[in-house]
Each structure stands twice: as structure tokens, then as C-alpha cells.
Amino acid sequence: MTESTTWAGTDVAALQRQADRRHRWGRFGLYAGAILFAFLAAFPFSWALISMFKESNDLYVKENNPFWFNESPTLEHLRLLFLETNYLTFIRNTVLVGLAVTAITLAVSLPAAYALARLRLRWGERMGIAIFLVYLIPPTLLFIPMTRVITSLGLQESLLSLILVYPTITIPISSWLLMGFFKGIPMDIEEQAMVDGHSRMGAIARVVLPLMFPGIIAVVVFAFTLASHEFIYALAFNKSSAVKTIATGVPTELVRGDVFFWQSLQGAVIMIAVPIALLFNAFLDRFISGFTMGAVKG
């Protein structure tokens, strides 16, 4: 190959070797990092997954290899979990709360978000920010007076307390999120429907709401996430087993005296965490685009 001034004084083969080496290190670092993160994230869950199938006289021996089934695995702890504890009640409660919170949130947030996005309110911009700021007031600040409010309404020890209070968290964030989605729908479409003879309400119902489906899904996801995650209100309002959600029921009820049912407890976690993680994984790309949309348009 003839030397040329382009490469005068340069060893192209060496450049190539350097590039290849960097590429190999880059790939190595990528896989090493990915494996490390996956390991760190999943470690306690993998321990939970193993524990839930272990016999007690295998698990509770200090010198036994914890990552190995020294005795054959058993489904006894899962049976116990489903049949002899209130686990299914907690799940049912969580779902009920999630459904009710979704309904209230949508009923309140959709109109508010529409008004903020479309109706050119004089205070629209500030109102949007104010609504988002409400989201920054955490339950920690409010749970003590809130407990009094709930008690004076006679709602303590009932799912209604959570159904009433959770929308205070979901409404601000959903209004803000839905505002982004509304802004993502071209005004033209709505105006076209109004020109075609629909009233504004008709245009919203027939043309805009169907396009809001992804936003509505986001609200559903958010409401159910809250219902299954929220701890402080649920712990403060409801103390009897029949009205606990999974977040408070599992850690406080699966105890006999001072002793945890460790295997059943870990089973309870895995049976909830894995399906939710699968669901989120399926929606992650949607979620990311929704987030950037809210951030860009909001």
C-alpha cells in the first residue's frame, strides 16, 4: 500500500489495534457494569426467592449454605401464605383502593389538566406550577392532622380513609402529567371537531379523550403503584388486619408474636414484586417517552 500524506507518520494498523482494544474494553466494561448492577439490584430478591421454598430446618441452620437446598424445596410456606394468612385480603384491599383512587383521580384531574392545557387561563402557568408543588408536600408533613381529620369523619379502620386521602397525592401529579398529554394533542384536531358542528364538550368527549388513552393508562399505573406502595397513611389510619393493604399488611401481620414467618413473608414479596416488575418492564419505554413529553411540553 502506498504511503500518502494523509497518513504521513501515522501507523494506521496501530490506530486500528488501539481502536479494537478500546472497543473490547468498552464492551467488557458494559457487560461488567450491567452484571454488577443486576446483581446488586436483585441480590435480596434472589435470597427471598430461595428462602420461600426452604424447609425451616434447612433455613434456620446457621452453617448451612444459604444458596443451596440442603433439603428438598417445599411449597408449604406458600400454602400457609395463601390459605392461613390475610394475604389475599391485603391484595384485594389494595386492588379496591387502586380502582377507587383511579376513578376519583381521573374524574378530578382530566378536567383540571384540560383547563390548564387548553383554556388559556390567566393564571394557567402558575396554577400548573402550584399544582406540581402540592405534590412536593409529603405525607410525612400531613399524616398527624390527617389522622385527626379521618377520625373525625369516622373513616378510620376502613378502606374509605385511604380512598379519600390517596387522591391528594395522585391528583396533583396526574393533572401535571395529563396536561403534558393534552398539550401533545394538536389543538387543530379539536377545533376541526368544533368546526364540524360539535360543542366543545362534544369535541372533548369524541375526539380528545380517545387520544388521551396513554395518559389515562399512566394515571392508572400511578394510582395502583401508590395503593400498593403507600405506607405512612395506611399504617396511621388502619390497624385492623381486614383493612390493611399489602404495604402495611405484609410487614406487620406475618409475624407470630415476635417471630416472622420468614419464608411466607419472602414468598409474599416475590409474588407481588415479580409480576409488577414484568408489567413495568413492558411499559418502560412508554413511561420514558411520557416522562420526556411531560418534561418538554410542561
Partner: protein, 301 residues
Amino acid sequence: MTSTTRQPRYLGDNPRFLAGLFMSPAVIYIIALVGFPFVLAIIYAFTDISTGNPDLEFVGLATFRRVLADPVFRDSLWNTFLFAVVANVLVVILATALAEILIRDFKGKWLVRFLVLLPWVAPVSLATITWLWTLDSIFSPIDWLLRQAGLITENMYWLGRPGTAMTSVIAVQAWRIVPLAAVIVLAGLIAIPKDITDAVAVDGAGFWRRMFQVTIPLLAPIIAVAVLFGVILTISDMSVVYVLTRGGPTNSTQVLSTWAFIKGIEGGALAQGAAVALFLLPVLIGITAVVLRLARRREVL
């Protein structure tokens, strides 16, 4: 649409009427169930209300004085600050690294993404339970590994000693927030125009230069959003501490949220609980100021 002087014929077509109609449920809900309790929280802090004595009797700053005099409260305040700062420094570093990994293509990415998301999507109290068991005083598999490796002979009693208990609480907080922060940063990475990434490659910047001179400066606003969520989650959350240590051993991991709960709900001292929780307010106002700044900066960019 219509001239400004004439009102539209149908109320439903009047934007101002609609705006009021559409906004009012949200505004009423928030005022009744956020605004009112918020005011109540402040009022409580100036009374000595308790479950035994439910009358609102103003005592001025007496409650605050009692709270402040309590060494557990001062520890809680310090711990809240420490946990939030250390956990979020970890979160920023790890989340940025994780987002850099997740934006690339590699074999098994689906599985990695699934596993990495677990700490965030699992309900916090349940995820914390797996750690409670992982850090068990007798049967901790971590201790077993360390014993097998010959690094320790006695168990660590992770949650039984102040130093390791604090480390554990911070680590678990960071562990569960990293996925959320990583997803936020990932969204920011995806939003960087492809032309910019290509230009960096053509301009000859290596990994570290790209990272620190282009990617991170461009992502600064979105990383700030991630930190914001992280800080709010760490300072206001009580489930990790409550499930893991209940503030122990001997209040060494007590934070404002758990202390307010223990005082106010479990102990029935509503006024003191409210006063403790109110100390979160300045932090939240600070964060709010940052948010507003960011919101304004984004418009300029």
C-alpha cells in the same frame, strides 16, 4: 372564535365558565385535604394536643422547646440530613452510570432491565423486608459469605450496631431510588439529539470527555430533577427506616419521619409529632425554590 364583546351562546362553549368548572374539583379537593391539614399541622405545633387531650390549647413555642430539648430529635434531624445527602450522592453517581449502560444495546438487556427495576417497582416496605432478611443477625447470607471467605468469624449484626445500621439504611435507600433516577436520566439521554452524539464521536472525544464535557452538562437539568425526587423520597419516607430498624438501635437511625410517627401516632403526642414533622418544611421550601429555578432555566434553554 367569537368576538370579545359577545358571550358565546352555550355555557359549555364559554372558556371562562369551563375553566372554572374544570378546575374547581381539583382545587376544592386539594384545599380540603391538603391545605386544611397543612394549616392544622402548623396549628397543632403551637398547642399541646394529644390523643388524651384533644383540645386546641395554644401554648406558644412550648411544644417546639420540648421537641428541641429532646436529644433524639436532634439526632433525627442530623440523620435525616445525613441520609438524604449521602444516599443521593450515591444515587446520582450510580443512576448516571446505570443510565449509560441501559441506553446501549447488549445481550440480555431485557433481563438486566427487569432485575434492575425490581427495587423500585416492588412496594417499598416489601422490598425492605427482603433486606431485613438479608441482613438478619443470625442467618444473613452476606455474613455467611464473609464467614466462608474467612473475613469475619462473628456475624456483623448489621442492624444491631449504630454504624452498620446507618450504613444499611443509607444503602437500602439508595438501592431503591437508583432505578427511578436512572430511568429519569435515561429519558434525558434519549432526548439528546443524535447529531450531537455523532458530532462528539467525529470530534474525537473519548468516553470520559464525552461523559463530563458533553453528556453531564447537557443532562444537568434532568439530573437535578432526579436528585429532587431522590431527596424528597429520602427525607419524607419512613418505611425503609421503620421496617428495617424502627429508628434503632437506641434511636441511632431515627429520622424526622419515623420520630414524628412514633411520637405522634404511636405515642399519641400529636402536637409534638406535628412539630417534629414541621422541621421538614424548610427543606421542602428549599427544594421548591430549586424546582422553580429549574423550571425557569428550562424555558431559557
